[in-house]
Homo-oligomer: 323 residues x 2
């Protein structure tokens, strides 16, 4: 009675994904994972999907693709002020995906697991006749009632943003030949930097927060709408990286792309004017740059002002899947 | 300053998915959901993906597609003896998917949310150039240390299965014109019945358990392998529905499909011979049929015996995504 031969996905999972599994994952060999929720903490849960050709380029290095999805989910935790706990991931791959591709994909995830201190709890690997499709559910924790929320900004609060804006959107242009090649911008498109430490440091300081994924202008609209107020920002106060600043100087028509292109994964948040020093201290403590770019005010909508304080008419409202 | 126009997926989510959201989902309007883990319970977590043309038929009624994925995940909870808590779902749809399709898809999920007592906590809706791709992460709870596991069967234990086997695989044949149309079999392919009540009733009785998703023979191999032993079952003791029995009588060559085709989502479990009465009582208490179909024994592998006790040589080892 020889042991039955198992189908190839079992070996694929055992070789590439089992080494990534945390203790509760039961070696990815059971029907589900078991997890003791940390005592006295509230769970924070988010799920994101990524499809080749939509969220990443089909020829992106496989080692960055899983990391990008993990990092966009970590960015959701950062936006809530949460600490990572673990994740589950499903992977739909075309039949015939080379084993080396899967190995590099998993190795990238392993790097990020070490960097961000979490492990995989479970998942599923299936075949598809279409493009590579990934989905990830992340679990984090926060002290009960302390999560940062999108709702909470008030007229008079200041608008802050972490890091630099527009790099991801310009990186996509650079990777697709519409801008000169640029390693910094390409890297920012492929590997977002979830601002976990800053998010946690802003608990009790920021009145509202979210991460910028669909474009600064559109996402600021979410904070304003949740607060029932308006927001205005100065375009020239939006923090740009040196490569983004150079690209904008060469082609001022890139401004809507920078402010609306998405893929930033920076934190966008509101703080009372009197808390500016605390915000700056949180940035210093977490080695994350933070920049004041505008304010919330009575009314509705988002206005972007030029250097003379005049409203700019920006064509793009942000990324849409179904426009 | 008029409010900015939001892209169509926001309206899609607000109209179809927000009504399904549980309290911790924050109206699906924040970066993540918040959940207070039930005190004194262990979390149980599983994720499954489904792709049109692989796990369901592209022309299946949209109202059954989301329910099938939810139910396959609930079946994973059932296999662990867990109770449902909530779920997150990501949906990748071709651009141009009709709004009516999405409405029916969401309505089906709503039906099952009511039937199984859980609500959606979060998710993501994206576009794809390929087939519809869904992913769902389910959360459940179990008393700490009480979860049913795949490991634990011992030589001498009996092999039990719930419900009937083969209906889902024959339903797929019926839906694709390879068997005569049959509403019962089609329904079993499209809408698995997660055995949640039975799974919970088997805690403390079953020594090992899993759900049958890849075919009875292959999945029994998992229980045997986890236990470091062998298993044998009698083909004629495997419970069949009337339509499956009739199909098998008409074409005995369907046996490998019935025992290996998958899509059963029944519970397969091990119990000590002395616990047979407790197993039967658990079945009665939960109004779920349970049938003893074989036993675990020393050795390795799975043997399927005919009515005369002779080993059958079954060609199919179970469903594979990458064979």
């Amino acid at each position: 009675m020889p042991p039955m031969t198992l189908p190839p996905e079992f070996s694929l999972i055992a070789r590439h994904f089992r080494p990534l599994a945390g203790p509760g994952a039961l070696d990815l060999a059971d029907d589900a994972a078991l997890l003791d929720p940390p005592a006295g903490r509230q769970l924070v849960l988010a799920a994101d999907a990524m499809v080749a050709g939509v969220h990443f380029l089909p020829d992106d290095p496989p080692g960055t693709i899983g990391r990008k999805l993990l990092r966009t989910n970590l960015s959701d935790l950062a936006a809530m002020g949460a600490a990572p706990l673990g994740y589950l991931m499903t992977v739909a791959l075309p039949r015939g995906t080379p084993d080396a591709w899967i190995a590099a994909f998993a190795a990238g995830l392993g790097q990020d697991q070490a960097e961000f201190g979490l492990k995989v709890l479970g998942g599923d690997t299936v075949s598809t006749s279409g493009p590579i499709s990934l989905s990830l559910t992340i679990l984090g924790t926060v002290a009960p009632g302390e999560a940062l929320r999108r709702v909470g900004a008030r007229p008079g609060d200041e608008v802050w943003v972490s890091g630099t804006i527009g790099d991801g959107a310009l990186g996509l242009l650079a990777l697709t030949g519409r801008l000169p090649a640029d390693p910094h911008l390409a890297d920012r498109y492929r590997l977002p930097k979830p601002r976990l430490a800053l998010g946690q440091a802003l608990v009790g300081i920021a009145r509202a927060a979210m991460d910028v994924s669909d474009g600064l202008a559109q996402d600021l609209g979410h904070l304003a709408r949740a607060a029932g107020c308006a927001a205005e920002i100065r375009a020239d106060s939006v923090p740009l990286s040196d490569p983004a600043r150079a690209a904008l100087a060469a082609d001022p028509a890139l401004l809507p792309r920078i402010l609306g292109g998405g893929d930033d994964y920076e934190l966008l948040f509101a703080a009372a004017p009197g808390d500016a020093d605390r915000v700056l201290a949180a940035g210093r403590a977490t080695q994350t740059s933070v920049t004041r770019i505008g304010r919330f005010l009575d009314g509705a909508g988002v206005m972007v002002l030029d250097g003379a304080g005049q409203p700019l008419d920006l064509p793009a409202a942000g990324w849409s899947h179904f426009a």
